[in-house]
């Protein structure tokens, strides 16, 4: 038998060959990589393998078990679909970055030790950054910078946590970690940032709408879901996650309702959907973890489908704002149908994939008798139908006629959407193949009479609310606006600080300067004594004190970033580094 290699390496190493190939060969090669990875994954031995000595520790590059296999399958599957969707793209950077990114996600999934986890974690951050940069606009460059700063911050927290964890436990292998001390808390923060848990979520709706059309499809699948995987492995049953998840399901829907950029609407609904998974992890029972995994699986497909359909609209019309779009079903009927299938799936309509996966988590919540959480999730289920289920297809493909004349996207895009749509419907109708690969045995039947009728009632009356509000004109109109999110607290103070150094501090400096010049001028009228005083004043005040503000300014100036602002994150990272060093000194002393 052929020896299998860690799945991540197929993608990462395979990606280096892409720039050397051209035309059809390149397409075939890119499509063959996920297939190869899939076959390789089937042959990977169960349990831990590929253990490599590193310093005094052992790296475990392959840990195959129930949980990691499902995530491995879905990451490979979505890479396959994403590659089909991106076949027409000529830009090699995007392809290489996408494969490295997917490789990073697979690495995170299959690694069994914290060091290689950190390596793959950072690889994902760097590679996905290129998917934003490749859009090549000033806006995306700034967004990529902020995105990177966020993930750098998360990465530093993770690293600090790992260092503390390893120094306390003496091992780098990990499975269940649990919140117990500072180290585990820092690791937790690092994971939470990637899972877009409040208040660390604002990088997501900031960056994803600015990524490339094809890049956003990969991004919607990998970062948050690999974080969900890792949280499900390391922190199941943490009550804080249950509440954080329930909150995550609720607050983004308000933002999604008022967002104008369609990919931003999808980004907020992505946070909402990840909230269901995080909540399930917080519950931590077998049914809940099954729900998390199943939901992650279905979610990756239908969210990618929605991002693909919006990407197709952006690709063909160059517009993505709800204010610019409308009535596109006339020219893009296939895309409209695919989008509606994705929308029905995310809304958990019976016979679509969201229904068979979300129910598991909600059933687990009900089993635990968490009344408030249950009502929050139910509210979120109705809300998600409202913004992702109706708003997205309605404002883009129906609604008022925007007068845009266009046509269907290229064949490869339609094919990718078709495959994803097929999987959404297939799993919705026949969930057994998915249920069979879940980590725990499933004894759950989504299609009971009361469950179906209850869900249909919830959704249809949500739709009734939408209809009435639209017809009465009460529905918030689409506006071109910037809606502030928690990133305001990270973006504005830095800018204010720079402004403070620039204006008030400089002015004070000048005032002091002129004041003493005046005194000196008076003194000049007096005889010799005043000359002495003048010299002293000149020395002490004019030279040192008046220069002080401008010295501060010159010191701060280099920190000024490309986007003409001090990134507040930089200060955080600095503080983080300092605190790690301090902690290490503390331990050593």
């Amino acid at each position: 038998m052929i020896n299998s290699i860690p799945v991540a390496f197929i993608f990462i190493m395979g990606s280096f060959l892409i720039p050397l190939l051209k035309g059809k060969i390149k397409s075939v090669y890119m499509l063959s990589l996920p297939i190869l990875a899939f076959i390789n994954l089937i042959f990977l031995p169960q349990g831990q393998s590929w253990q490599i000595g590193f310093l005094d520790y052992t790296l475990i590059l392959s840990r195959v078990d129930g949980l990691s296999t499902v995530f491995g399958y879905i990451f490979i599957l979505i890479t396959f679909i994403g590659v089909i969707y991106a076949l027409h793209v000529k830009d090699n950077i995007q392809h290489v970055a996408a494969f490295c990114y997917a490789g990073g996600a697979l690495g995170v999934t299959f690694t069994g030790d914290l060091f290689s986890l950190y390596f793959f974690w950072e690889l994902m951050a760097v590679a996905s950054c290129f998917l934003i940069l490749a859009q090549r606009t000033t806006d995306s460059r700034k967004a990529a910078f902020r995105y990177f700063m966020w993930h750098f911050f998360g990465g530093v927290c993770l690293l600090a946590g790992i260092v503390i964890y390893v120094s306390i436990r003496g091992t780098i292998t990990f499975s269940y970690i649990g919140l117990s001390d500072l180290g585990t808390a820092l690791i937790f923060v690092g994971f939470c940032l990637n899972a877009a848990i409040f208040p660390f979520h604002s990088w997501l709706p900031d960056a994803y709408p600015r990524a490339t059309i094809t890049g956003a499809v990969f991004m919607s699948a990998m970062t948050t879901k690999s974080a969900v995987y890792i949280l499900a492995r390391t922190y199941p049953g943490s009550e804080v996650l249950m509440w954080a998840g329930a909150f995550m399901t609720c607050f983004p829907i308000f933002y999604a309702v008022i967002a104008n950029d369609m990919r931003r609407v999808l980004s907020y609904s992505l946070i909402n959907q990840v909230g269901f998974m995080i909540c399930g992890i917080g519950i931590g029972s077998q049914l809940a973890i099954n729900g998390v995994v199943a939901h992650a699986f279905c979610h990756i497909i239908y969210k990618a489908l929605l991002f693909m359909s919006m990407g197709a609209v952006l690709h063909m019309t160059g517009k993505i704002r709800a204010t610019d779009l409308g009535g596109l079903y006339r020219y893009m009927p296939f895309t409209a149908v695919f989008c509606i299938i994705g929308a029905a799936s995310i809304s958990a309509f019976p016979l679509f994939s969201g229904f068979i996966s979300k129910s598991l988590t909600i059933a687990a919540v009900a089993e635990h008798h968490q009344t408030i959480i249950y009502l929050m999730l139910l509210f979120a289920s109705a809300g998600v139908f409202h913004h992702a289920g109706i708003k997205v297809p309605y404002f883009v493909f129906f609604g008022h006629d925007s007068g845009i004349k266009t046509c269907e996207p290229p064949f490869n895009m339609r094919l990718a959407m078709g495959i994803a749509a097929f999987i959404c419907v297939f799993l919705g109708v026949y969930p057994a193949p998915l249920y069979n690969i879940l980590p725990f045995p499933v004894d759950y039947h989504p299609y009971t009479f009361f469950h179906v009728i209850g869900m249909v009632e919830l959704l249809m009356f949500g739709a009734l609310a939408f209809t009435i509000l639209i017809l009465s004109g009460f529905y918030p109109a689409e506006l071109r606006a910037q809606n502030l999110d928690t990133d305001w607290f990270f973006r504005m103070p830095g800018r204010a600080f720079l402004k403070f150094c620039d204006r008030p501090l400089k002015t004070i400096g000048k005032r002091i300067d002129t004041f003493f010049l005046k005194i000196v001028a008076w003194a000049c009228m007096a005889p010799i004594v005043s000359v002495k005083i003048e010299k002293q004043f000149d020395k002490v005040f004019h030279k040192f004190m008046a220069l002080f503000p401008s010295v501060i300014f010159t010191l701060i100036k280099p920190l000024e970033t490309e986007s003409r602002q001090i990134s507040w994150n930089l200060l955080y990272i600095l503080a983080c580094f300092i605190s790690i060093l301090f902690f290490l000194l503390f331990l050593g002393g």
């Binding site: 008022i258 008798h369 209850g454 606006a481």
Partner: protein, 86 residues
């Protein structure tokens, strides 16, 4: 590529009115089914309200209406001009 011939499936005010009428009829049918089921079967649930008929319908409707109200208030708080950060 030249734009394809537009598909005019849903044009005209009549179709919209018909669509909405059918939608209301569907809602009534769903409620009827729920009510019949309430009398015919014994419903088992984890929460007391699961045994109440129409609970999900009422909850879904109020949830979505309150969602819009809160979103409107939220917009009033967080709305800024485009290019606010530039």
């Amino acid at each position: 590529m030249t734009p394809r011939k537009p598909l005019n499936l849903l044009e005209g005010p009549d179709i919209q009115r018909k669509f909405i009428k059918n939608f209301y009829i569907t809602l009534c049918v769903i409620l009827m089914i729920d009510l019949t089921a309430f009398f015919l079967f014994d419903r088992q649930g984890h929460f007391p309200w699961e045994e109440v008929p129409f609970f999900n319908a009422v909850y879904g409707f109020t949830a979505c209406v309150s969602l819009i109200f809160i979103a409107k208030i939220l917009r009033w708080i967080v709305k800024q001009k485009e290019g606010y950060y530039d």
